[in-house]
């Protein structure tokens, strides 16, 4: 095997990195499918409401985190500002939903 010493993107290092990333993305996809099956399965099994709802919401959040970090590449370098924006958005989103619920249900 020949070693390439200069770091253009044609060398083996980046090829390897791309392959690795694709592997992570396929694992992400498999996990997302499994989570979806669990969520639908739990609802179809007609378990207790107070038990099922928190679990399917947690499954959705985990699934979305996987999607953000592996499909949308937030695990890569140079995503500091995108992280601030998306987490900023998510915090305001949380407050918005909380406000609406409190307003209507109080």
């Amino acid at each position: 095997m020949t070693e390439n010493i200069n770091s253009t993107n044609s060398d083996g290092y980046y090829e390897q990195k791309k392959k690795e990333e694709m592997k992570h993305q396929l694992i992400t996809f498999a996990l997302m499918i499994i989570f979806t099956f669990i969520a639908f399965g739990m609802v179809l099994a007609e378990l207790d409401k107070l038990f099922v709802i928190p679990i399917i919401i947690v499954l959705a959040i985990v699934q979305v985190i996987f999607q953000l970090y592996y499909f949308m590449h937030m695990s890569h370098k140079g995503h500091e500002l995108p992280s601030i924006m998306i987490y900023g958005g998510l915090s305001v989103a949380f407050l918005t939903i909380l406000t609406f619920l409190v307003l209507i249900w109080w």
Partner: protein
């Protein structure tokens, strides 16, 4: 054309961020996604608050079936993966394969959209459940319809990019455009994950 700066023989490691314009697009798009998150949150908040206000009309338990939603979810999840593969091919500077994977993404997306239209059509004609039926109806159609509108926009966006660049091939000018469109597509999938959980699964329980 073969050797100008926007069209290098070997693609850099991150073609979407190789130019200043690409970097700006990348940042600007994430800013936009932060805003979109809040926009959808307000629709989710409205829906959650009003989902039991059926005004004597059909309730979510009577309306929703999970078969169609499950198929729609699988279509959209798979299309998210195929657009990831398209970007993988973009980084390998393989334009033809990227176009092919984007085409599969678009087909899956149209499959999703047709099922959604079919679902709405059934609700309106068979169940007499419309935008004006109840607060639940308005909140449901606004939230899910808004997401459907995003799907349609994303599909037209990707199709436009594919057609506009079909003869140009991949270069550093359009690589950021493809990249950003794929981010948008993933974001649509992210929103759908919450829709099928909060609207459909929690609506059936």
């Amino acid at each position: 054309m073969s050797n100008d700066t926007l069209n290098p023989k070997v693609m850099p490691e991150e073609p979407e961020k190789a130019t200043l314009e690409g970097k700006n697009k990348f940042l600007g798009f994430w800013f936009f996604l932060g805003g979109e998150t809040v926009l959808f949150a307000s629709l989710f908040g409205t829906f959650l608050a009003l989902r039991n206000s059926t005004n004597g009309g059909p309730s979510s338990q009577e309306l929703f079936g999970l078969d169609l939603v499950f198929i729609m979810t699988m279509l959209l999840l798979t299309s998210s993966l195929t657009s990831v593969v398209a970007i993988y091919q973009m980084k390998k500077n393989n334009f033809a394969k990227m176009q092919a994977w984007l085409a599969i993404t678009v087909i899956l997306g149209f499959g999703f959209l047709s099922l959604e239209i079919y679902e709405f059509y059934e609700y309106i004609t068979l169940e007499d459940f419309t935008f004006r039926s109840s607060a639940f109806g308005s909140a449901f159609y606004t939230l899910v319809g808004f997401h459907g509108g995003h799907v349609l926009f994303g599909l037209l966006w990707i199709l436009t990019l594919m057609i506009r660049n079909a003869k140009r091939g991949l270069n550093l000018y359009n690589a950021p455009k493809f990249y950003v469109a794929s981010l948008y597509w993933h974001f649509i999938d992210v929103v759908w994950v919450f829709i099928f959980t909060v609207v459909y699964l929690m609506g059936v329980i």
